[in-house]
Symmetry: C2
Subunit: 114 residues, 2 copies
């Protein structure tokens, strides 16, 4: 599976979630939650894909892409997702920032021969 | 220095740059270029901050924040930045996606005691 999201032509929406894991806390259930949230998000109406990475210091960025604001609002209301966010706030993240943005235009590296 | 960008109240713009470094290519001048581009971007009119991370497989996400579309366009025209982008296309990145988005709303983890 590519790490890149195969998004459609803009406009669509992006949720930019930048976060710092609590230092020296080990996994503490985090990986299982993150896998489950990725799986669950992908089942939501309006989900277009996600891109996610984290460095060795525990600083991570996940960008998820959505058709519209309504699909973001629905995902936020999801009960399992809400519990995961609470645990993230209390246990897993030292700090995070969430930004909701409307993607206006996009371009990619040209493929060889194109 | 915090890894988080201290952005103002929305609206403002985000450039979401997701990228995969070429595998097994070593540094190849990349770190020096990346440091220089971060320094140069921070000097541009309309620059609001940036957040960046990369995992051990070389998959990276950098999000830079800008006051408006005009400041993004000016940064794109910068001669040194243009040369760096060309080298990125030719040498450093196996693939990348760039998305320009308008940040509509933002929220952060509540601080303890707030």
């Amino acid at each position: 599976m590519s790490a890149f999201a195969n998004t459609p032509e803009p406009p669509y929406y992006a949720v930019i979630f930048t976060n710092q894991r609590v230092a020296n806390s080990g996994d503490d259930g985090y990986a299982a939650m993150a896998d489950r949230m990725a799986e669950l998000a992908a089942q939501q109406d309006g989900y277009l894909g996600a891109e996610s990475t984290r460095d060795a210091d525990g600083f991570g960025i996940t960008v998820s892409y959505w058709r519209d604001e309504a699909s973001i609002a629905n995902w936020k209301k999801n009960a399992e997702h809400s519990l995961a966010r609470e645990a993230g706030n209390e246990r897993w993240y030292e700090h995070f920032e969430t930004r909701v943005a409307r993607v206006e235009r996009a371009y990619a590296k040209a493929m060889a021969g194109q």
